[in-house]
């Protein structure tokens, strides 16, 4: 998943970015509203965390312009002005959720996971595809109730494919959502991750969870068994 963090307080932004990276997010970040608007409009982000009080362009206006440009990714507003009037204005501007400052990082992460689930049409934190279960809170994966040990990048690949179940995800898009802008991206590495995932999830080749569509990308081939 690729998240945009727009927060003008550098220390807080760093705390958020660090926590999100630890959760497996690729990050784009900015300290002002105008650059944040550019990143939100141009980068293939999956979610945005936007502070309301920003230099250059305030957070509410940023959200309005992002929505006006047709970007529909979920947006979580960070606000120190936590009155209901402010919250209503923020939500009407196009935000999907808000989090009042000060907050604890686990709460922010829980809100982001909930927003991503909601966007993908999931109401529960556990995504079930028959024998395969993915717990997005614990970032754990089981097949037939047996835990599967995955690396952070392997989990990211699986989580992205599962929250976009049924969609064909190109390698380029998958790389965009796995890596930061500054990271070196190698499609061959992605193929390695997918091969290792298949081996771990389906050692006896009976499940076949990930389908490769030549020249187009990958798709999670399993049917969702719990719904929104």
């Amino acid at each position: 998943m690729r998240a945009l963090v727009v927060e003008d307080e550098a220390v807080l932004r760093e705390q958020i970015v660090t926590s999100l990276r630890a959760e497996g997010f690729a990050i784009d970040e900015s300290g002002d509203g105008r650059e944040g608007l550019y990143l939100a409009s141009e980068m293939p982000i999956d979610i945005a965390i936007v502070d309301i009080g920003l230099p250059e362009l305030d957070g509410l206006e940023l959200v309005r312009q992002v929505r006006a440009s047709g970007v529909s990714v979920p947006i979580l507003l960070l606000t120190a002005r936590d009155t209901w009037q402010d919250k209503v204005e923020g939500l009407e501007a196009g935000a999907d959720d808000y989090l009042a400052k000060p907050f604890h990082m686990p709460e922010l992460l829980a809100r982001l996971r909930a927003l991503l689930r909601r966007t993908g049409g999931w109401s529960e934190p556990t995504l079930r595809f028959g024998r395969l279960e993915i717990d997005t809170r614990a970032q754990s994966v089981t097949v037939d109730d047996h835990p599967i040990s995955l690396t952070a990048y392997e989990y990211r690949v699986l989580a992205y494919l599962s929250t976009h179940g049924g969609e064909v995800i190109s390698k380029a898009r998958l790389l965009d959502h796995l890596y930061d802008e500054s990271d070196v991206r190698d499609p061959n590495v992605l193929e390695v991750f997918v091969r290792r995932l298949r081996q771990k999830l389906d050692p006896d080749k009976k499940l076949e969870p990930i389908e490769t569509l030549r020249g187009r990308g990958y798709r999670l081939a399993l049917e969702r068994t719990n719904d929104s």
């Binding site: 220390v11 807080l12 009155t83 209901w84 000060p102 907050f103 929104s228």
Partner: protein
Amino acid sequence: MNSLSARLIAGSLLVLTVFVGLTGLAVSYSVYQRAEQAAEDRMEGLVFGILGATEVDASGELLVRMGELPERTLALDSAGLYAEIVGARGKRLWQSRSIIDSVPPVQQTRIGQWQRGLVELKNGERARRMQLQTVWELDNGDELPFIVHVVDARTDDARALTRFTRSLWATLLGAAAVLLALQLGVLRAALGPLRRLGQDIDAMSNGDQAVSENDIPKELSPLVGSINALHARERQRHESYRHLLNDLAHNLKTPLAILGNLNDPRVDTQASSMQRSIDRYLQRAATETTTTLSAPVTLLPVLDRVAESMRKLYAHDGLGFDHRVPADATLRVPEADLYEVIGNLYDNACKYGASKIVTRLEDSKLYIEDNGKGFDSAQPDTLLRRGMREDTRTDGEGIGLASVSQLVSAWGGTVSLGESSSGGACCVLDVGAVLVQRTHPTAPR
């Protein structure tokens, strides 16, 4: 006496009383003086007339020719006017045929001296008397001294004076009544702008933004301008106060967020304590602001906006809202506070499983009912105390209901919690003190 009208009416009454009284007294006195003078002149004329009809014959006897008397009544058997001529040593030389009950004695004076005055008769009536002592020189050189004495007990003049006096006072009192009525009319017209000003100021306390300057007399224009300017300044100060507090909170909360995420339990504890203090004092500041400076807020749009936000936040629950509130129902409260109250109550309902929320305004009470899990506590009103919370089903500070209670209390109302007909929560807000208008019901939506 705190009423301007009462003061002006009392002043008018005093002025009218003094004016009418002094006028009546002056006119009465003047007429009385003229009547007195006329009576004396008439008496003098009588005395001279009697002298003119008097002569002394050759034997020295005094004769009065009755046919030449100035008043015919003196020669008739009538009453009320009496005349006599008294000689030396009190001997009566002549007397009129008319009589009175009693004749006061003549007084000896110097020759040529007038004696006049009022005397009381035996029957208690008062009579005017006049005498002149004179001397008649006889042909033989002797002198005959005598006194012409006239007593008039007739009451015609007094009755006429009394009638005049009564008529005078009646006329003056009638004029005073007419003047008073006119004065009241003038007062009413003159005080009309002040009454309208008072009504406008009352309306300001009900949320109107300014006193109307239409049809205000020029004498009151500076006052109206000052009142409007003062009101505008107070509103501005009120808004600035809230904004300053919010800015302060904003500037403190970002550092608190940083401190709270340093993963140091000691720092986290202190940061949480600071956060609670900020929330507490912000809440206190909000509830201590007055509602009289607040512009009326239409209730329905606030309910609709908050409901729309809830649908977004709790989209997966398929929330339904039913707002049975008149479209023109307005509350005289700070708009932000109304959002806070409705936001907290709707958020609580959604957090605790409600899928249907019904809000209705009846008898100055706002009922918010849901079909959620309701209150487990046997005494749900205890939840209105700050810091208490129903359970730990969801995260939060547990101060939402307490915040609602404090704000509604600042509006002069109360909050009571109970069970809805569907077994969920029912919050009843008494908003009678701030409800400005509720006339047309609206269909449920």
